[in-house]
């Protein structure tokens, strides 16, 4: 029995693609080595961000925001989306200058969603922020959502819509299998499909023997504190500091910022995990306290890490494979894929259904990694 679409990887990207493909009436099977959302999806701070995006990703991020606003209703489950806005603070004149340059560059490309906020506004909106902060880059209609609730919402919606979910089923490779079909070699035997979508995250680069894509696996560390009195609604980043900070409705503060832990068993998607590096946790916390001094008194309850696939140029691989007809890549979101998941799911599903939409995915095509393509200057934005 050949399924219409087989999706390799049960993270948010895979589940979103599965759900949207079902809406087009396609038969869908998700194949996940561990359990859904085991890695990157559960290590996200949940930022739904178009602020400070790489230029090529801005159209996706802005379009994704529209989907997030209606996502709970579409899936029939709460995803915890809050339009809290996102802010990126500047601690000095150089930071503000960089923001002004950024806004000018965006204006040239016709984007106006990012705006400058003065020190005075900052004092009013974030009274607990450190006095030396000079202002901020702000997107008012950005927000955040609850990664675990979103994962659960998509998983339930997929099951309700009739997606076949095969967890604990490792995939060893994908090969052509005659006209218009692909064969997926899995731990539980071969699965045939008309289309295959590679949503394998940190393991996406190894899936196709003759289309290997170099990527690095990083164990990104997250920290959560015990609840403290409400002091911030938007998600906070800082120019020149690795920090992403958010306060949830329970009052807990979630601190991320792409500080990497120690990778263990990287090659095995089930056993792979990241052990924490106390020194780097200290650095991550120092960034948080530099901007919100009162957090020094907060209590850390838990720290964890999730494995992310990091691409050399910081951009995902999205679009048809160059070597295997019927295979679509959708991985390598380099620690900023959470916000894009609902949109990527729609784009890939629409492409599977109608064949259209390749143009919108062109900036992220796997072709950019052809042997002659010059190594892109790494313009990676913060998580």
């Amino acid at each position: 029995m050949t399924v219409d679409v087989a999706i390799i990887g049960g993270g948010l990207i895979g589940l979103a693609t599965a759900f949207e493909a079902r809406q087009h009436g396609l038969s869908v099977q998700v194949i996940e080595a561990a359990n859904c959302g085991r890695h990157a999806s559960s290590a996200s701070a949940g930022g739904v961000r178009s602020l400070n995006r790489h230029m090529a990703e801005i159209p996706l991020a802005r379009a994704a925001l529209d989907l997030w606003r209606g996502l709970a209703e579409r899936l029939g489950h709460d995803v915890g989306f809050v339009q809290s806005g996102q802010m990126r603070l500047a601690e000095d004149v150089a930071g503000m200058a960089a923001f002004e340059a950024r806004i000018a560059r965006l204006a040239d490309a016709g984007w106006t969603h990012e705006r400058l906020s003065s020190a005075r506004h900052l004092r009013v909106r974030l009274p607990d922020s450190a006095p030396h902060c000079r202002g901020a880059l702000v997107v008012d209609d950005d927000g955040f959502a609850d990664p675990l609730a979103t994962l659960h919402a998509y998983r339930c919606a997929c099951l309700a819509a009739g997606v076949t979910l095969s967890e604990g089923c490792a995939v060893h490779g994908v090969v052509r299998a005659g006209a218009g079909a692909l064969a997926i070699d899995t731990a539980r035997g071969e699965i045939r499909a008309r289309h295959v979508v590679n949503c394998a995250g940190a393991w996406g680069g190894d899936l196709v023997a003759d289309e290997r894509i170099a990527m690095r696996t990083a164990a990104l560390q997250m920290i959560v504190t015990a609840p403290v009195a409400p002091f911030v609604t938007p998600v906070i980043g800082v120019h020149g500091r690795k920090l992403s900070l958010k306060q949830t409705d329970t009052g807990a503060v979630v601190i991320g910022g792409a500080f990497e832990g120690h990778l263990r068993h990287a090659r095995d998607a089930v056993a792979a995990r990241g052990d924490l590096d106390p020194g780097r946790i200290g650095a991550s916390l120092a960034n948080a306290v530099a901007v919100f001094p009162h957090l020094a008194q907060a209590r850390i309850l838990r720290a964890w890490s999730g494995l992310e696939g990091i691409m050399p140029d910081g951009l995902p691989v999205l679009g048809p494979s160059g070597r295997v007809p019927g295979l679509i890549h959708a991985f390598g979101f380099s620690a900023h894929g959470f916000a894009l998941a609902p949109l990527v799911g729609r784009m890939v599903a629409d492409h599977l259904h109608s064949g259209a939409g390749v143009g919108a995915m062109a900036p992220f095509s796997v072709a950019r990694f052809g042997t002659d393509a010059p190594a892109r200057q790494k313009e990676m934005s913060d998580a």
Partner: protein, 395 residues
């Protein structure tokens, strides 16, 4: 001063004390971290004060703290750097070989370091988190009471029977006045009942949560289960328990336990339950509950080790090799590896220390490996009863 310690022991109960002292006597440089305020763990809590007559009559102290005095003197003489009040924060397993997607993971070499992150004792100057590299780690973090889940369990006025024991050993406190009810089963409940009555306190009722016959079995098991030296205790305690139970209403086969009260007041108002088919409600101020003890598995879970469910203990235990090793450079000993009581814990600790000494080529002939091994087997064969206190039936 060396940049690295040879051995870091976590926990200063019977197992940790034996492991640290044996390793130091073998010439190792040992750091002993224990979050409690003094060495001895739970069974030998506050042993120093008690044995000096500061808490209870010394005759009673010698029974309750059998073996503690010797273990504390041995620690003092061994040169172990003991940090009371130091809390373990994290253990990072040794760096495996260079981790690249293409090169398979190389096993860590003998010199691979285990990185211990810990918090200095209360009152130390911030930042209190410290890091120490150790060639080996022995975790001896002991047991905890199994939490009993019932409506009202979180109310002030409800606490573990083990906690009532701890209040007695730490500060000589005994439940006072009306409405003291003990609910549960197992030896600890009976020992606490006896201590309350010996100190002139009254117990309003005992609710037996165990299956039929558990109370009698618990009485027989008490001497060995809780107090180190079985021979010394056998007769005296049995008699004490029969007297202690006299005159105390015991409700058998209790189900549907519920505590009633508000969070504002420092005690509960009543307990309700069903016994022999009849619904009962008793006024109560303090409810002590007990459903056995289980390993404190935080360290073994932190290390992502494999565990297996031990149906007899009703808890997971980490999978270990013969010496108690669970990973390269890491051992888990004592009740944290499976409930065995103070006697086995000390042997277990000694055994792991000898394995660490052997690994660093410093195994001394004195107390060679066969010694503790033989003692351990003997102890297991005869001294410790099969689990006698039964289990509350599963839903």
């Amino acid at each position: 001063m060396s940049k690295v310690v040879d051995l870091c022991v976590i926990g200063a109960g019977p197992a940790g004390l034996a492991a640290a002292a044996r390793a130091a006597e073998g010439g190792l440089h040992v750091l002993l971290l224990d979050e409690q305020s003094a060495a001895g763990g739970q069974v030998w809590r506050n042993a120093g004060t008690a044995l000096a007559g500061g808490l209870m009559p010394t005759t009673q102290a010698e029974k309750v703290y059998h073996g503690a005095g010797a273990a504390l003197q041995r620690l003092a003489a061994s040169g172990v750097d003991h940090r009371a009040g130091a809390t373990l924060v994290d253990i990072a397993q040794p760096e495996t070989g260079p981790e690249t997607k293409s090169a398979p993971e190389a096993a860590p070499g003998p010199e691979a370091m285990v990185e211990i992150t810990w918090r200095a004792p209360f009152g130390a100057e911030a930042p209190r988190v410290r890091q120490t590299a150790a060639r080996a780690v022995i975790a001896a973090t002991g047991a905890q009471e199994r939490p009993v889940i019932f409506p009202g369990a979180e109310l002030p006025g409800v606490m573990g029977v083990g906690a009532i024991q701890t209040a007695y050993k730490q500060s000589g406190l005994v439940p006072d006045g009306e409405g003291v009810v003990l609910a549960g089963h197992g030896p600890l409940l009976l020992l606490t009942l006896a201590q309350i009555r010996a100190a002139g306190g009254r117990v309003a009722a005992v609710l037996d949560l165990g299956p039929p016959g558990a109370m009698a079995a618990a009485a027989r098991a008490l001497p060995r289960a809780l107090i180190g030296d079985p021979a010394l205790m056998a007769q005296g305690v049995g008699l004490m328990l029969r007297r202690a139970l006299s005159g105390v209403p015991v409700h058998r086969g209790v189900t549907g336990l519920r505590a009633h009260g508000t969070h504002r007041t420092g005690s509960i108002e009543a307990v309700s339950f069903t016994s022999a088919g009849r619904a009962r409600r008793l006024p109560a101020r303090l409810l002590g509950v007990h459903d056995g003890v289980i390993p404190n598995a935080q360290v073994s879970r932190l290390l992502s080790l494999r565990h297996v469910w031990d149906a007899g203990q009703g808890a997971f235990v980490p999978v270990r090799d013969a010496d108690g090793a669970v990973a390269p450079g890491i051992w888990i000993v004592g009740d944290g590896a499976g409930i065995g009581g103070a006697g086995i814990a000390a042997v277990d600790g000694e055994q792991a220390a000898l394995a660490v000494l052997a690994r660093t080529g410093r195994a001394r002939t004195r107390g060679a490996a066969s010694g503790p091994q033989a003692r351990r087997a003997a102890f297991r064969r005869g001294a410790f009863p099969a689990r006698a206190d039964g289990r509350a039936c599963h839903r």
